[in-house]
């Protein structure tokens, strides 16, 4: 009844779109990253040169890549710390109705504008913003805090707020593997809540923890909106660096940076999939 030929026919529209629009241009970029800049044509010519990669080493570009990945990992950990209790609340504590409301509340941000949500943090973190207002009124500070906005702190908050829903859904999928009887058994044998959490719930939800981390890590490492909206003048993330390099039309360098980042991110996704079977999380059919 199921036929592989029909499967391929049905798959072809999405396959062609993904290959032609997604993978082919990226492959071209990888190849072109080894070409050389030709001042005569304002374009690049075929070559096998590592010059662009050597340029990554200049003016601290490696450092930007490394710190971007570090910030992304930090954002992912923070999202897990905030998202895990929320997932526990939805799965174990909330009533059926309340759980649906919470799931809805965490779905809406996926599809509302990342730009507007990052922009709205300016109103909260700015010199005359909500937080400075509260702190001044409460008499905790006498001068508005400057480091709240246009800083690494603001970028981190923006990333957490943007990508928090990406940890909650893998966690919810993983929590379905925690049978209520396991918890009852642990309780019967005298385990307290923390012990049950650490020895049963967390180990069983490892694939979800890992998938959630990976989603936020990859999204944050490639993010541009949050940095452009909330970062300081010197703030650099990978995407800002690529924009800067493109402003001086240094194509090979932009392609080389893109290649390094793509290898790191796609590599992380594929490794994660091989180790934890990400696809299994979504498959209950």
């Amino acid at each position: 009844m199921f036929r592989i030929g029909r499967g391929f026919a049905l798959a072809s529209p999405a396959l062609l779109l993904t290959l032609i629009l997604g993978f082919a241009p990226l492959a071209v970029v990888v190849v072109w990253s080894f070409w050389a800049w030709d001042p005569a044509t304002y374009w690049i010519r075929p070559d096998l040169s590592l010059a662009a990669y050597a340029q990554i080493g200049e003016v601290g570009r490696w450092w930007v890549i490394v710190t971007s990945l570090f910030k992304a990992a930090l954002a992912a950990l923070a999202c897990l710390a905030v998202g895990y209790p929320a997932a526990l609340a939805v799965h174990f504590v909330a009533s059926r109705r309340m759980a649906l409301v919470l799931i809805g509340a965490f779905t809406v941000p996926f599809f509302t504008s990342y730009l507007i949500r990052a922009f709205s943090w300016r109103l909260v973190l700015g010199r005359t913003g909500l937080i400075n207002d509260w702190l001044m009124q409460a008499g905790i500070i006498s001068e508005p805090l400057d480091w709240l906005l246009f800083s690494d702190f603001a970028v981190m908050i923006g990333l957490i707020a943007s990508y928090l829903p990406f940890v909650i859904f893998p966690l919810l999928l993983a929590l379905r593997r925690v049978e209520p009887s396991f918890l009852a058994a642990a309780q019967d044998m005298g385990a307290g809540f923390l012990r049950t959490l650490v020895t049963i719930i967390i180990p069983l939800t490892k694939p979800g923890i890992f998938a959630g981390f990976l989603f936020v890590f990859v999204m944050s490492a490639g993010s541009s909106t949050e940095v452009q909206m909330l970062g300081g003048a010197g703030a650099s993330m990978i995407s800002i660096m690529i924009n800067d390099v493109m402003r001086v039309v240094n194509f090979p360098l932009a392609f080389a940076i893109s290649t390094v980042v793509l290898v790191a991110l796609i590599g992380a996704v594929l490794l994660g999939n091989a180790r934890f079977g990400l696809t299994r999380l979504f498959e209950d059919f």
Binding site: A11, Y114, P180
Partner: protein, 264 residues
């Protein structure tokens, strides 16, 4: 109540942390919405007697924004059509692909993980080499890569309501593939299809990073708004942001309520 979660201290703690998550996600946009009803120039919450639609009315006279809105609506409509049809076909393919399923799933969602700036840049240089000048179509092609993985996942999630036994029974009774698909599968995955339509539309309409390298002379709405947000322009930007947030949340809410109603 699940075993292990009976103590009120534990529940209180979990609820408090959940509240933190909700505040992080919702406080700023809700505050912005409040600010948008303040007739004053300085961003702050309006006093209760002072709520005004002044900036919302001013939106009607922003010609540039309206042109950008038109462009974004056109792009989002095209993206929605193509991505929904491709996602339904891709999800139907998933049923047939047997052991290739996981590879197929991974292939379709992989573009979601490619940073928007890099994907936009790669597409733009390739289009440039093909002598394809940037216009709304090039933006739409870029947005397709962002919308399709989500649309596919949503349709696939609704596939869980299609039991193998339904299809086997229909096949036993002599129904061919078309008949089974039209009479069984499509009606069952309808909530997923509606989700794919709404989500594709919103993802394209709101997309920013993938547009910047692909856009032609006419900006899309998010690009236009980005400029206005950084030039410290008039509070109409709060009204427009508030309006977009409200409509997006409402649309997602309707889709979710429909899905929940069908299940519940």
């Amino acid at each position: 109540m699940h075993a292990g979660f009976e103590r009120w201290q534990i529940r209180a703690c979990i609820w408090a942390l959940t509240l933190v998550a909700l505040v992080i996600v919702y406080l700023p946009p809700v505050y912005l919405l409040g600010v948008s009803f303040n007739p004053a120039l300085q961003p702050a919450l309006p006093s209760l007697g002072n709520i005004s639609l002044k900036w919302y009315q001013a939106l009607l006279h922003e010609r540039g924004l309206l042109r950008a809105l038109n462009e974004s609506l056109l792009i989002a409509a095209v993206v929605t059509l193509v991505s929904t049809v491709a996602a339904i076909a891709a999800a139907l393919a998933y049923l047939e692909l047997g052991r290739l399923r996981n590879a197929w799933f991974l292939l379709v969602i992989l573009p979601m993980f490619v940073p928007g700036i890099i994907q936009g840049l790669a597409l733009s240089v390739v289009f440039n080499r093909w002598q394809l000048a940037p216009f709304w179509g090039t933006v739409a092609l870029g947005h397709l890569l962002w919308a399709l993985p989500f649309a596919f996942t949503v349709v696939l999630t609704s596939m869980t309501s299609v039991r193998r036994s339904y299809l086997l029974a229909a096949a036993d009774l002599g129904a061919g593939w078309w008949r089974r698909t039209c009479d069984i599968v499509l009606p069952l995955i309808l909530p997923g299809v509606i989700g794919a339509i709404v989500f594709s539309f919103l993802l394209s309409f709101n997309e920013f990073a993938r547009s910047s390298y692909l856009v032609g002379r006419q900006n899309t709405l998010p690009l236009d708004m980005f400029g206005k947000m950084n030039s410290g322009a008039s509070p109409t930007i709060y009204a427009l942001s508030g309006l977009i947030l409200l409509v997006s949340a409402l649309l997602v809410g309707v889709v979710l309520a429909m899905a929940a109603g069908r299940r519940g």
